[in-house]
Amino acid sequence: MMYLYLFAMFFRIGLFSFGGGLAMLPLIFQSVQDFGVMSSQEFSDLVALSQVTPGPVAVNAATYVGFNYSGILGSFVATLGVCLPSFVIMLIVMKFIEKFNDSKGIQGAFVGIRPVTIGMIAAAAIFVSESVLVNGSLISMKLFTGGVEFFNFIPIAMFAVTIVLVGVFKMRPIRVMILMGIAGAFLCG
């Protein structure tokens, strides 16, 4: 029965997660506290762990809470719960899109949506840069008034090297990430 609660809790988190990433943590904290299965100490451990483990924050949280709650079976149930809404919703939406794919409306919509998506990807570079390349929000007056402390020069150099390696030398994404991970361990550690 408690597994059902765990499942339902993370199903709800998966269903209402919009935008993703760390923005989801408050929602996760709130739901988990409502069910009384997590202390604030555990929550701050989870936040710290999410910063240094790959993968979607929601999945990390589900695995973490489930595991602390009742071992591997718990993490499995919670992770299944958090994934299921995405999975089902996407399958339904794709059915819908396929059905109307030949309609003028859907085709016209995607003519406009694709450029917006490209702009969105470019904007994501700004979001990722914040608190990594610079300390705080990139689009702010701090860019001019923040002084030297606003910029993290080693990560900025790594960013520049990445652009050269990938843009000019066509290095593969995973290799660049491994390379910069190793460099970061020594230079930023």
């Binding site: 451990d45 996407m90 919509a109 003519v111 949506i113 702009g119 843009g167």
Partner: protein
């Protein structure tokens, strides 16, 4: 016989989908968008599982729907390739690394968050992700934006989301509306819809759009 081969072949493909998404999952660091350079490299360029346009559609739909973005995209791509089973293979693949790593971390390394080398490595990877996303965005723009209209939309979207912090879904809805209006005007003027159908199939030999795009340069 051939039936057996077909089965073995498709099992192999499911494993391949799983494995590629497993790798994507390992390197999803610094948010869902970190997946995109890798998906573009593997799914579009190396394996040719999807066209560039399909990937953009996938990202747009994944961002607009509730749910975990990484899982949304994996489900989309897997389903596009091999139906529900493909979606399952991709989703399990993208989730498995998180699942395994969190359990290992909780079991063996209580204080992993405090290790300065690991923190440094993550800073390095995020700096790389930032560069990778920037390069990918430029590449996608060069390959997929074929008209002045589309370039303008892309720039507006970049500024609206990146500078003014508009939520992605509103930008996508606005883009859809702009696309529908643009297409219906063009359709009425030119009398044939085929131009925009070709664009969807990745054709480069577009009459009107190709010209206007070049004229701009």
């Amino acid at each position: 016989m051939s039936n057996n081969n077909g089965k073995a072949g498709s099992v192999k493909q499911y494993i391949s989908i799983f494995w590629e998404f497993f790798k994507v999952g390992i390197f999803t660091i610094g948010g869902g968008m970190a997946m995109i350079p890798q998906i573009q490299q593997v799914v579009v360029k190396d394996k040719k599982w999807l066209k560039e346009e399909d990937m953009l559609d996938c990202i747009a739909v994944s961002q607009s729907m509730p749910g975990v973005i990484a899982i949304n995209s994996a489900t989309y791509i897997g389903n596009r390739m091999k139906g529900v089973k493909g979606a399952l293979a991709a989703t399990i693949g993208v989730v498995a690394p998180s699942f395994i790593i969190i359990i290992l971390a909780v079991t063996f390394l209580g204080a992993i968050g405090e290790n300065k080398y690991i923190l440094g490595a993550f800073t390095g990877v995020k700096a790389a992700v930032c560069g990778l996303i920037a390069v990918t965005a430029v590449r996608l723009a060069k390959q997929s934006l074929v008209s002045v209209f589309q370039w303008i939309l892309a720039v507006i979207s970049f500024v609206a989301i990146g500078v003014f912090g508009i939520t992605a879904i509103w930008a996508i809805i606005a883009g859809a509306a702009a696309g529908i209006i643009y297409n219906s005007i063009r359709f009425r003027n030119s009398g044939h819809l085929k131009d925009d159908v070709n664009k969807k199939k990745g054709s480069t030999c577009e009459r009107n759009d190709g010209k206007s795009g070049e004229a701009e340069k």
